[in-house]
C-alpha cells in the first residue's frame, strides 16, 4: 500500500507525540524528589523531542566555554569557532547517543571535541571502542541519573579546591598537552566513586543488551 502525504504526516505527528511523552516521563522520573541540572534537561529535550529552543540554550551555555577550552589548547579564534560549530552540530545530530545514566553533557561534549580535533590531525581518525546503546523503549533509571549528577557536582567541587598548580596540571592533561608518561597515577581528582557509579550504569546496560542477544 502506498503511503499518502496525510498518512505520513499523521505518522510523524504520532512519533512527535510519543517522543514528547517520553521526555515528560524522563523528566518526571528524574525530577521526582530532586532536580536534574538544566544542561541535562535541555539535552534530553534535544534528544527526545528535537527541541530547538533547548538546543539554543545548550549552545548559549557550552559554545563560549568550548571556544575558551579549545583556545587554551593553542588554537586561534577563527579555527576555534569552526570546531565549536562542528561540535555543536554533532550534539544536535548525534543526540540519540547521549545517555545520562553514564555520562554528563559536559563529558559527552568533551569527548566529541577531542574526536573532532584528532580527526583533523590524523588521516585515519581516532580508534574508538565499540558503542553500547540502549534500546529505544528503555526506561531510564532516575536514581542512577541523579547519582551521576551528584558525582559530577562533587567532581567540580574537587576541581575548584585544588591548588592552582595542581589544577593547571589537570587542565594541561585534559587539553591534551601531556603524554601518558607525563600523567601521574594520582591526578588529585577523586574518580574512584565516579567509576563505580558509571560501572553500575554499564552493568545495567550490558544486562539489557545480553537479554536482547540471548532471547
Amino acid at each position: 500500500m502506498l503511503m499518502t502525504a496525510d498518512m505520513a504526516y499523521d505518522t510523524g505527528k504520532a512519533q512527535t507525540k510519543r517522543l514528547a511523552r517520553r521526555v515528560q516521563r524522563d523528566r518526571k522520573a528524574v525530577t521526582d524528589g530532586q532536580d536534574m541540572t538544566d544542561q541535562t534537561a535541555w539535552m534530553l529535550a534535544v534528544r527526545d523531542a528535537r527541541d530547538k529552543a533547548a538546543f539554543a540554550r545548550l549552545f548559549d551555555f557550552y559554545a563560549p566555554r568550548l571556544k575558551g577550552f579549545v583556545m587554551r589548547g593553542g588554537m586561534d579564534a577563527a579555527l576555534a569557532e569552526e570546531i565549536v560549530q562542528d561540535v555543536m552540530l554533532t550534539v544536535w545530530h548525534k543526540a540519540a547517543q547521549f545517555d545520562p545514566e553514564r555520562a554528563q553533557v559536559s563529558g559527552w561534549i568533551y569527548q566529541i571535541t577531542r574526536n573532532r580535533q584528532i580527526d583533523t590531525i590524523r588521516r585515519t581518525g581516532r580508534a574508538m571502542p565499540e558503542e553500547l546503546k540502549h534500546e529505544d523503549d528503555h526506561e531510564p533509571d532516575a536514581g542512577q541519573v541523579l547519582a551521576m549528577e551528584q558525582e559530577a557536582g562533587k567532581l567540580k567541587q574537587a576541581l575548584s579546591r585544588l591548588k592552582p598548580e595542581q589544577r593547571a596540571m589537570i587542565e594541561k592533561a585534559y587539553l591534551g598537552d601531556l603524554t601518558h608518561q607525563e600523567i601521574r597515577d594520582q591526578t588529585g581528582l577523586p574518580l574512584g566513586t565516579i567509576k563505580s557509579r558509571i560501572r553500575l550504569g554499564l552493568d545495567r546496560l550490558r544486562h539489557e543488551l545480553k537479554e536482547l542477544r540471548e532471547p
Partner: protein
C-alpha cells in the same frame, strides 16, 4: 569467559580520553575498552573530568553570527559519519577498523608463529600475533613500551597469566618469554612504540625482514 584481571594503567586511560596516545596504543586501549566494562567506566570517568575542566574553565565571547549560523544548519543533512566498525568473530570493532574490515593477512615467522601487521610507522607498530598452543615467543626486551592484549587463548610469562581481554604493558625493564597456553592458539593484538630487541641471533637477523 573468565574475568579480566589485567587492565589499562590509569595514565594511559587518561591519555586515551585526552586523545594523546599514539595511534598504535590508542587502538589497543579502544579494543580493551570494547571488552572490559571496568576500563570503559574508567574511560568515561576521565571524560567526565575533561568535561568538568571544559565547563569550569573560562568562556570566550563568540562572534555575532555564529549562533544564527549553527541554528540555521540544524535542519540540514547530518554530516557524513564514519560508521563504528563492528566486532567480527574474535576481533572487536577497533581491530576490524584497523584491518579495514578484511581478514588478517598472516605471514609466517617460523615455528608456527604468525603475524599480521596492521600499522607500521615512525610512531610504532601494531600487529596481530598467532602463537600455537604451548609455543614460546622468542625471549625479547623492549626499547620502548609494548602492549599485548589477548583476543583468543592465553599466554603466560614471568609476570603472570593472561587470558582473553587481559592486557600486558611491558617497558624497557622487562625481558620476557611469553608462552602460549594449552587449548586454542593464542591470538594477541600487540603494539610497540619502538622495535623489539631479541636476544638470540636468529630472530635478530630476521628482525628487519619481518619488521618486528
Amino acid at each position: 569467559m573468565s574475568e579480566i584481571t589485567h587492565h589499562i594503567p590509569e595514565p594511559m586511560l587518561a591519555a586515551y580520553a585526552a586523545g594523546t596516545l599514539p595511534p598504535v596504543f590508542e587502538t589497543v586501549v579502544a579494543t580493551h575498552v570494547s571488552m572490559c566494562a571496568t576500563c570503559r567506566a574508567g574511560m568515561q570517568a576521565h571524560e567526565m573530568a575533561g568535561g568538568a575542566v571544559l565547563e569550569e574553565g573560562g568562556a570566550v565571547d563568540l562572534s555575532d553570527a555564529l549562533k544564527a549560523d549553527v541554528l540555521a544548519l540544524l535542519d540540514g543533512p547530518a554530516p557524513e559519519d564514519r560508521p563504528a566498525p563492528k566486532r567480527k568473530g574474535i576481533y572487536p570493532g577497533p581491530v576490524m577498523a584497523a584491518l579495514k574490515n578484511r581478514e588478517p593477512r598472516w605471514k609466517s615467522l617460523g615455528m608456527g608463529v604468525r603475524q599480521s601487521i596492521l600499522m607500521d610507522g615512525p610512531d610504532g607498530s601494531l600487529r596481530l600475533l598467532y602463537i600455537p598452543p604451548g609455543r614460546a615467543v622468542p625471549d625479547h626486551g623492549h626499547n620502548g613500551i609494548e602492549m599485548t592484549l589477548v583476543l583468543q587463548g592465553s599466554f603466560s610469562d614471568e609476570t603472570g597469566a593472561f587470558g582473553v581481554g587481559d592486557l600486558e604493558v611491558a617497558d624497557e625493564e622487562l625481558d620476557h618469554t611469553p608462552v602460549a597456553g594449552e587449548g586454542l592458539p593464542c591470538i594477541c593484538l600487540a603494539a610497540t612504540d619502538a622495535p623489539l630487541r631479541f636476544h638470540s641471533v636468529l630472530p635478530r637477523l630476521l628482525q628487519p625482514l619481518f619488521r618486528i
